[in-house]
């Protein structure tokens, strides 16, 4: 069962209210000036510390060589600048031992970098046996995470005009293993604060691991951004998520709370809408990537390639599970992600309740509205 703070005002005075806060507690300003500049904050967990250490090692190694080379370059350019009538002094055209020296010595440093990199990598891909396994699913353009107890919920906070950014809670000081798959195209799950990312594929599972940090005494939670790092289309840049690290006791309470809560059919549908559908479908009659839901139920929809269909429960269910089966006219460029295996039957039923609740009378232009609103954009040539 799914419960969401933003939608359920009916809850009694809530011990868990702080964790639904829209106030992000992003970590910043830890560590030295260089670390703050480079990473906004020094690494807080073991993976980040290993990565930062290696990065700074490479950084100072690079700075050394760069300053050396550029220093020599600038000095020689000034020292040996051309003077009319003065020839360049004779010098050796090559020097075997010197060339071997500057080949071998930096190369051995590369070996060190490789080994350190490999060690850090292993800490990110091999999980300890006691790691909590979270199932991560990437769909265009959102993250879903299923917890070990079967809950897949998230708190969310509104962001920008439309998106609700999901908040996934994690216990502090715990190893987490992410088991990831995509439902459509390639995504990549990046948590910059933990310095890890891995691609998600639609045909197989990928995985990585990290260990969450310990909270400071004065914090109740700490937030980390999740970004999609593999280009996945239109709203790739809005495919956010937030990891909210809480104390272990709070984590257990929140998970229990999720499984205990209950929502009406319609509320559930609205929540599913906010978490999955809002990227493409509006509920206010406005234009979107897909048709608006407002007032659509019970109407007849023109289909791509001719024909039409009555929008009823069966059609909605079919369109969620197999969106390409009957495509609305005027949306030929968009392939909706099939939600087969993403939403449970209960959730689909919720969506249908919510869809129905949005009324059956077209508010604006009826079912043809999306196609018309596209005409607002100018130009006259054809696209195909």
């Amino acid at each position: 069962m799914i419960q969401d703070a933003a939608n359920t005002v009916s809850q009694a005075p809530d011990a868990l209210a702080p964790f639904k806060s829209e106030q992000l507690n992003l970590i910043a300003g830890e560590g030295g000036a260089l670390e703050q500049l480079l990473f906004r904050s020094a690494g807080q967990n073991v993976q980040a510390v290993m990565t930062d250490g290696l990065f700074l090692l490479i950084f100072w190694f690079s700075v050394f060589f760069f300053v050396l080379l550029m220093g020599l370059m600038v000095y020689w350019v000034i020292r040996y600048r051309r003077r009319p009538g003065v020839p360049a002094p004779v010098s050796a055209s090559h020097n075997g031992p010197l060339e071997i020296f500057w080949t071998v010595v930096p190369s051995s440093a590369l070996l060190v970098i490789f080994i350190a990199g490999f060690r850090g990598y292993m800490s990110k891909v091999v999980a300890p046996t006691d790691a909590i396994q979270l199932n991560v699913t990437g769909i265009k353009w959102d993250w879903n995470i299923t917890y070990p107890n079967g809950e897949r919920s998230a708190y969310s906070l509104p962001m920008g005009t439309k998106k609700a950014v999901k908040i996934f809670v994690l216990p502090e000081d715990t190893s987490i293993q992410l088991l990831m798959q995509s439902k459509d195209v390639i995504h990549a799950f990046w948590v910059p604060d933990y310095r890890t990312k891995m691609d998600l594929y639609p045909n197989r599972y990928t995985t990585y691991t990290f260990h969450t940090e310990k909270l400071r005494d004065d914090e109740t939670y700490r937030d980390h951004w999740i970004f999609c790092a593999e280009y996945c289309g239109d709203q790739h840049s809005e495919m956010y998520g937030i990891f909210r690290v809480v104390r272990k006791a709070d984590y257990d309470k929140i998970l229990t709370d999720w499984s205990a809560g209950s929502l009406s059919c319609e509320e559930l549908g609205q929540l599913v809408y906010k978490n999955n559908c809002i990227s493409c479908h509006t509920v206010d009659g406005g234009s979107g990537i897909g048709p608006t839901w407002l007032g659509a139920f019970g109407t007849t929809r023109a289909l791509e390639g001719g024909g039409s269909v009555l929008i009823d429960e069966n059609y909605i269910r079919e369109s969620i599970l197999y969106p390409q089966a009957k495509r609305a006219a005027g949306f030929s460029g968009q392939n909706m992600t099939p939600f087969l295996g993403v939403l449970s039957d209960e959730e689909i039923a919720g969506v249908i309740c919510y869809y129905k609740s949005l009324g059956s009378q077209p508010a604006g232009g009826g079912e043809a509205a999306p196609a018309e609103s596209g005409a607002a954009a100018g130009g006259s040539s054809t696209g195909g």
Partner: protein, 262 residues
């Protein structure tokens, strides 16, 4: 890489590459008997490799002997390499040609080898740490079937969804539906035909009993804890796995997908 550089010892200013030293006669005219001999050898090796492969399959099937699959692969490919070398050396005259051309060709084969080797290092060893990284989640998943006719609005083929089925199942379903529409029991018709096929009265030529050689490569399955219980396809695949999913390739699990067990 320089054939001409090697000649700098006897450097001639007027003819730095030593062209004048060579006449047109430098290019070998290959004796026709050699060419014919090579052709006969090639035909012989072709016969050999075909016989070998057929015989191997027959022996494995007839006597139920497990022949490791590499025998088949190595046999066929090594004969192919011999044939290719013959063509290169005599028909393409690399044997009589400047070594540079041979080197170029070998470099190209090296690049090919690197390409193949390092790609298979990834795709073949995804399961180096976790076995489940190799499995396939939802084979054939939301494939789109193409219909060649129809589609007046757009030029080109139109796609219809396979409703979560793989292409293979979708094709089977279309067959069944076609017969159902004709008033015949499609399922029964399909089952009968399939049995007919597998019994050797085949329309295609897949044997009823594929030799063990075909199955000597065992796949790493998907570990159960990965399945998210909301995924019906995954759940079915899991059940299939638990019921001994490494069954013969000829059996499709009932339901939507043949999944990852193979």
């Amino acid at each position: 890489m320089s054939h001409s550089h090697a000649q700098t010892a006897a450097y001639d200013e007027m003819d730095p590459h030593g062209f004048q030293g060579k006449s047109h006669g430098d290019h070998v005219i290959v004796d026709w008997r050699i060419l014919l001999g090579v052709l006969l050898a090639l035909l012989f090796f072709t016969a050999l490799t075909t016989t070998f492969a057929t015989l191997e399959q027959w022996v494995a099937g007839e006597f139920a002997i497990h022949i490791p699959h590499w025998v088949n692969v190595v046999g066929a490919l090594s004969i192919a390499v011999i044939k290719a070398s013959l063509v290169c050396m005599f028909f393409m005259q690399l044997r009589y040609d400047k070594p540079l051309n041979t080197m170029i060709f070998l470099f190209c084969l090296l690049a090919f080898g690197i390409f193949l080797g390092l790609t298979s290092l990834d795709l073949g060893k995804r399961d180096a740490i976790y076995g489940f990284k190799k499995g396939t989640i939802k084979p054939g998943g939301d494939a789109q079937s193409v219909t060649l006719t129809g589609g007046k609005a757009d030029i080109g083929p139109r796609y219809e969804t396979t409703m979560g089925k793989s292409m293979v199942e979708f094709a089977r379903q279309r067959y069944i539906d076609r017969y159902n529409a004709m008033g015949v029991d499609g399922e029964a018709k399909w089952a009968a035909e399939m049995a007919h096929h597998l019994a050797g009265h085949k329309h295609g030529q897949a044997g009823a009993e594929l030799p063990d050689a075909n199955r000597s490569f065992s796949r790493v399955g998907v570990t159960p804890h990965l399945y998210d219980e909301h995924d019906p396809v995954a759940v079915r695949a899991l059940e299939h796995l638990r019921s001994g999913g490494h069954g013969p390739a000829g059996e499709l699990p009932a339901g939507e997908s043949s999944s990852s067990g193979h």
